[in-house]
Symmetry: C2
Subunit: 360 residues, 2 copies
């Protein structure tokens, strides 16, 4: 059985084995009928114990949604995709505990990526300002390095409930920085169930598939704790693929990512250079249509564009050959630039609020 490296940066193209090897579950019909584009479009691909959350939603029982943004670099459109889902879960009644994870971003990343805790905090300000501008409220978000002492105490407590073998089996290596990050992440996921921060209740962590190891170890630990805890659920969404072939969207590889801080010129250039599923010549494209599964632009629109009708139309035209790569790129540029025009104004307003939150 392969391990999944939650800190790796490759795209997971073969989802199928994860269901067999790790016990992830596929979404059932009720889940797939949830009223959000990710469910309609097959972008939510797997879950662990999400039935609990469906039940809580259906019965109007309290539940929470927790996810953490590791502040290892700039905020990109893949992060926005997660915020979109979080907002939907909030509308469904979830109490939000969204972590700006500045400490674990530093301890889990190599020095050439996050050279210091200070650098991580600078990223935190930028990330947080984007998140607030996307519509989350101050109360929905917390800064890892600004938590009350009980949070850290709890994170350290957890170290008694994880053996080294368990850690290596899941992560494949024992590195003190990653051990630290793991303790903090488990504390992030479980602390909403402590009496100091919340109460025992179902919780869902929307995360990418390759972060499933964090959920597995968290559930293992939760079982061993003497606190009353509901085992947390997860909801796995696909990655917004990188703009280049075979690469995840990654802050450390600017050509793969659309940053929410990109200028219009940068957007144009990145989209122009993006890998598409279009054919070699316009003629061939007209005849065969685009290979839509490999088209980075279409995949990005699938996450970003809200209008189902319009997206379906693009898909039909592009895959039939009626639309060329240049045209879909043009649509994508306009979509992004329209979105950013408004977003930049909000970002400007939220910057100092974010600074106040990060520096306490």
């Amino acid at each position: 059985m392969d391990r999944i490296d939650p800190w790796g940066s490759l795209e997971i193209s073969d989802y199928e084995h994860l269901f067999e090897d790790f016990g992830l579950e596929k979404l059932n019909d009720e889940m797939l009928s949830l009223d959000h584009k990710y469910f309609r479009r097959g972008l939510a691909v797997a879950h662990r114990d999400f039935k609990k959350i469906m039940k809580a939603m259906n019965e109007d029982e309290p539940f929470y949604c927790m996810t953490g943004f590791a502040t290892s670099g700039k905020f990109h459109i893949g992060h926005k995709a997660v915020v979109d889902l979080i907002k939907f879960l909030k509308e469904q009644g979830a109490k939000l505990f969204i972590g700006i994870c500045d400490i674990d971003a530093y301890t889990s990343r190599p020095d050439n990526k996050v050279p210091s805790i200070e650098a991580s905090k600078e990223n935190a300000v930028e990330n947080l300002a984007h998140i607030l501008s996307l519509g989350l409220d101050k109360e929905d978000v917390y800064i890892q390095s600004q938590m009350p002492p009980r949070y850290y105490e709890f994170s350290y407590e957890l170290s008694k409930k994880i053996t080294r073998n368990q850690f290596s089996a899941i992560y494949g290596h024992v590195n003190l920085g990653k051990i630290s990050a793991t303790l903090l992440q488990i504390a992030d996921i479980l602390n909403p169930q402590l009496e100091e921060f919340g109460k025992p209740m179902p919780g869902v962590v929307p995360i990418a598939l390759e972060q499933d190891p964090h959920i597995r170890i968290t559930r293992d630990v939760a079982r061993k704790l003497s606190y009353d805890m509901v085992l947390p659920s997860s909801l796995n969404i696909k990655h917004v693929g990188g703009l280049q072939k075979g690469e995840k969207m990654s802050a450390s590889k600017p050509r793969t990512a659309i940053f929410l801080s990109d200028s219009d010129e940068e957007i144009d250039k990145k989209i122009d250079e993006a890998y598409t599923g279009g054919r070699d010549t316009a003629e061939e494209q007209r005849e065969k249509g685009a290979v839509i599964e490999e088209d980075k632009i279409y995949q990005l629109l699938r996450f970003h564009m809200d209008d189902d009708e319009r997206l379906r139309e693009i898909r039909r035209k592009y895959s039939s050959g009626e639309m060329l790569s240049g045209e879909i790129k043009q649509i994508c540029k306009e979509e992004l630039k329209n979105f950013l025009k408004d977003h930049r104004k909000k970002f400007k307003k939220n910057k100092s609020k974010a600074e106040d939150m990060v520096y306490g």
Copy 2:
């Protein structure tokens, strides 16, 4: 080269190899002339870089003294011995950062010793009330679980500066609870030099010899940090030996220890049952005198008794055969009971202050 296990519970009877193997230094004449019973009586046996502290004392420069009390059990006379030294260093100008280490006591100890963080905090209240009653002020002491977020952030930052190999080389095993304890201990020793808590300055950690690994790893880490730090010094004092042969005074073995919470009856019983260097018969004792180096009662008095003259007299009489084991035991009982009579009153008064500090 043997490792030293800082969490072990055996007495280190052979100090000599530590100087060769680990680079500990012997006290020089200037140090030995410091005006405290431990220096006069050869109970301070080694140091690391204590010259810096001598210089700071001589030149009236700022320096600090940090030590941590792991709240893994009841407070005993061996802990009091450390407080005696801390008080002396305070008189010499040291700013005190005395940690009540409730988190690391839990993570570093097995569950059968410290079953929960709550149990650790109960011990913390008791330990702290004794420490305050011994004459340290509220301002001299901090509770690990009540520190500001920056302290914990710093502790986690440190995980980037310790490799797994370095950890195993020093501690011989990689256990997540002990890794946590080590991060916290290093943060305890170094945080007084962060701008948030103090400033870069020499600092001394008075500790038992077998805790030298903590100092070595702390100095290694301090060298790698980007903060401006003076490498911390240590001052090693001998253990107050346990009351039974070959055993360290340990809270988990009541017969080895005099607890500051013991009743007069318990004191009498423990002293009666203590191992002595007296001879098998009174006659033989009169003839040969006691083997004072093995006598647990005399060794205890060496730490506890303040009157040099009286101690010297006891030594002379007991080792010459003029005094019998029963007599020195009687002296010891009276010393302890006199001390505790006064101490109990103070403890009663300090209990609620300690509770307020531990529970925040």
